[in-house]
């Protein structure tokens, strides 16, 4: 039921996105000294497509009523940084400062989405008459 509420759905997909991004950034930081490693990032979050749901994930065709429709969650696209500058002599292109800044940014986004989520529920609780 709550999945239909757009704010909650939005906050949920935002938090999913941040968690996935955190994973990719952790890979970059862990490989900060690996020769020839090129860092990756996640395609930026598209609020519009989540709001309008104009870009629904690909669904599997059901040809028989006995088939179970699998739930397909939208995969976040991992993109590789295509810059070839600022790489060290061993071909590693991870800039540690940049990665740490991105992690901080992702954390703020997560906090914002989580607060939004909580506020939405607080509003529901107020509407139910259960105090502030």
């Amino acid at each position: 039921m709550f999945d239909k509420l757009s704010v909650i759905a939005l906050a949920k997909s935002r938090m999913d996105w941040v968690a996935k991004r955190q994973e990719v950034l952790a890979e970059n930081v862990a490989n900060a000294n690996t020769p020839k490693f090129v860092p990756s990032d996640i395609k930026s979050f598209d609020f519009k497509s989540v709001l309008n749901n104009t870009n629904p994930p690909v669904q599997v065709a059901v040809t028989n009523p006995m088939h179970v429709q699998p739930v397909v969650t939208d995969p976040q696209t991992v993109i590789r940084d295509r810059r070839d500058f600022e790489s060290s002599a061993d071909g590693n292109a991870v800039v540690l400062e940049e990665q740490m800044a991105k992690i901080g940014e992702a954390k703020t986004a997560y906090d914002t989405a989580a607060s939004l989520f909580q506020k939405q529920f607080k509003m529901l609780r107020t509407a139910l008459g259960k105090g502030i």
Binding site: Q22, E23, V29, P35, Q99, G104
Partner: protein
């Protein structure tokens, strides 16, 4: 949620690799004066660590592993010390090809990388606890 757990695994693999590197650096530094015992012997040869990234099948993430610990093929230093048991007929002794300055620099880099991985772990922990806080 699962991703945040993976984050910790990845960062842990990074910390493990960096501590392995630190171990090799400490070996090099400890053996900075390990000369040969005899005139035709070789002194301690410096070791270098290299990393590689490896796909962890269980989590599907790119983790970091220590690739190989290889000997540094650079020239040995020569010191003039005729009294030394390993001195050749001209009075020179082969000393290890370890430069303490380079080792210190390497050590700092390993330390910084380790700290960066630690910061990633603490960040993912904060996200996890924020998620739990949402229940309140």
């Amino acid at each position: 949620m699962d991703e945040l757990k993976k984050v910790q695994n990845i960062a842990l693999s990074g910390m493990k690799a960096q501590s392995e590197r630190l171990r090799v650096i400490s070996e090099n530094l400890a053996n900075v004066d390990s000369t040969a015992q005899t005139p035709d012997g070789t002194p301690y040869r410096r070791k270098v660590v290299s990393f590689k990234n490896e796909l962890d099948k269980a989590t599907g993430s790119q983790q970091v592993k220590v690739d190989k610990v290889r000997p540094d093929q650079s020239e040995f230093q020569r010191k003039y010390d005729p009294k030394h048991p390993a001195a050749d007929k001209d009075g020179y002794v082969l000393a290890p090809n370890v430069n303490p300055l380079i080792e210190m620099m390497d050590m700092r880099e390993a330390q910084r990388s380790y700290e960066a991985n630690l910061a990633v772990i603490s960040s993912s922990k904060q996200l996890l606890s924020r998620t739990v806080e949402m229940l309140r």
